[in-house]
Structure formats: structure tokens, C-alpha cells
Amino acid sequence: MSDKQLILVVDDDPDLVEAVSMKLESLNYEVAKAYDGEEAWDSIKAQRPALVILDVMMPRKDGYTVCDEMKKSEDYKDIPVVLLTAVADAVTSTNYTHLDGKNTLADDYIPKPIELDKLMEIVRDNLE
């Protein structure tokens, strides 16, 4: 069994998932990928990652809901969650506003567009 820590990266933007995954792998983490909230839950249950990097706006189940469910679950509440928060100043056609991660149960957050080095710092801090 690998002794690398497993990080789950969840975003409906496949390029962002790939870019973050490549950076994590270069730092010797193992990476699992999911592209919506439902898939994220499947992966959390099947693989129990050491940390979850979770986008907010996603199809099927949004990141706020996944984070909330994790943090209210006895089995998964200890897994650190880093939210990728709203990408722009305004988002039309939804109930998403310019919320930030402080108003959630997430352990940390980083606004989009993300700085990869800053995200890696947050990952390291939350795994300690």
C-alpha cells in the first residue's frame, strides 16, 4: 500500500482538476479526481482521502452541500476540506453570491483564480 497521502480534487472544470493534480503529484501526493459533488461523495466513501479540495459551484451537488454533509458526518468530519470559492464578483442565474469560505464549515478556502503555490501551502498546513 502506498504511504503517500491521498488528496481528492473536486471541480467541474477538468483543466483545473488536472492542473491541481499535476502540482500535487509533483509534491509526492497521491491524487483522486471527481467532477461533481455526487462523485466526490462516492470517492470520499470509497477511498477516504486525507484532504479534500472542493469547488463550490458544481452540477448535481454543490460544494457547500458536500462540505456540510461531511462535517456533520461522524465518519468524515475529521477530513480537512479546502473550498475553492466563487470565481467572480457576480454569478447570474443562481443563488450563489460572493460568499467566501469563512461562512461554511470548511477548514480553509482559497478564492479563484487560484494560485497553485498558495493552495499547496494551504494543503500542507491542513495536513499537519
Binding site: 467541474d12 477538468p14 483543466d15 482538476v17 488536472e18 492542473a19 479526481k33 467532477y35 455526487e38 459551484m57 452540477p59 448535481r60 470565481v87 467572480a88 464578483d89 457576480a90 454569478v91 447570474t92 442565474s93 443562481t94 450563489y96
Partner: protein
């Protein structure tokens, strides 16, 4: 080909407008794109062809931005906003599999679906197609590519815009 190529997702866009940016235009394609982005127009997909007499491009914008874009294009003679709506079909991840690209192209051709452009990125392949044929194109792709169980092609549920 016998088996389907495994993919993880298939995303369809909102209705888009296709802009054709000619090579050697005045202003050049790069400057047209700069003006559009300065006006906070989302450029959903940009395909550029380098060469002589300059860079030619294809660009997609949201259909709802057409009135604003047409006002900007008054100062950009030669740039054509196509009247027929287009959409994008994005397949991911491609995992650098050329056979996936070939299989999708064959399947689209079999359905007589015209292709206005193709773009690749770190993880995805994006096809620009007539909007009214997007669902037909998605079905064609699903004949050669295998989505995970309980997955179907999906459309975005929201637009992100700068204000």
C-alpha cells in the same frame, strides 16, 4: 474499433455565437480579442491559426452578449458574427488518446454534423458545432465513448460573469 474509449464527462454549452476573425484584419485578431475581453465579454472558446498574412481566429461568445459584441465589432471590419447559433461539446479527460479524437470525428461525420472548430486543453477536447445539433452530437459521441455508470451529458446550470 471494437470497444468504446473510456471518458469521465461530456459537457454541453449554452447557446453561443461564432465570430470569425480573418487573417490580416485591421485591427488584427489579437486586438479584437483584447477589445472583447476589455468589455468583459466571456470568450468561451478561442481557436487561433498562425501563419501568413497573420493570425486568423475563431471565437465563441455567449448568445446573450451578441448585442454588445456587435457594437464593438462596428469598429472591427472583417470580423463576422455568424447568424446560426453554435455550441460546444467538451469531452474529458482526453488522457492524450488520439484514438478518442479519431473516434469522435468519425462518429460526427457519420451523423453529418458539421464542425466549426476543435480545441484541446490540458484535460479536455472541445468541439464547436451547430447548437441545434448538440444533443445529436452528444449521442454520437456516446456511441464511441463510455461515460461512467449513472453519468449523462450535462449542461451548465449557471453562468459566471465579471461585472
Amino acid at each position: 474499433m471494437t470497444g468504446k474509449v473510456s471518458i469521465h464527462g461530456l459537457k454541453l454549452s449554452f447557446e453561443l455565437v461564432l465570430l470569425k476573425l480573418p487573417a490580416g484584419g485591421d485591427p488584427p485578431a489579437r486586438e479584437v480579442l483584447r477589445r472583447l475581453s476589455a468589455a468583459r465579454i466571456n470568450l468561451t472558446c478561442v481557436v487561433l491559426d498562425g501563419g501568413e498574412p497573420g493570425v486568423a481566429g475563431t471565437c465563441c461568445i455567449d448568445a446573450e452578449d451578441r448585442p454588445l459584441v456587435e457594437r464593438i465589432l462596428v469598429q472591427c471590419p472583417g470580423v463576422l458574427a455568424q447568424s446560426e447559433a453554435v455550441g460546444t461539446l467538451t469531452v474529458f479527460p482526453h488522457r492524450y488518446q488520439l484514438d478518442l479524437l479519431a473516434a469522435i470525428l468519425r462518429s460526427l461525420v457519420r451523423e453529418n454534423i458539421p464542425l466549426a472548430g476543435i480545441a484541446s486543453s490540458l484535460s479536455a477536447l472541445t468541439f464547436i458545432l451547430p447548437y441545434k445539433q448538440l444533443d445529436q452530437a452528444a449521442a454520437a459521441v456516446c456511441r464511441v465513448a463510455q461515460l461512467p455508470a449513472n453519468h449523462a451529458p450535462f449542461r451548465p446550470q449557471f453562468r459566471v460573469k465579471q461585472v
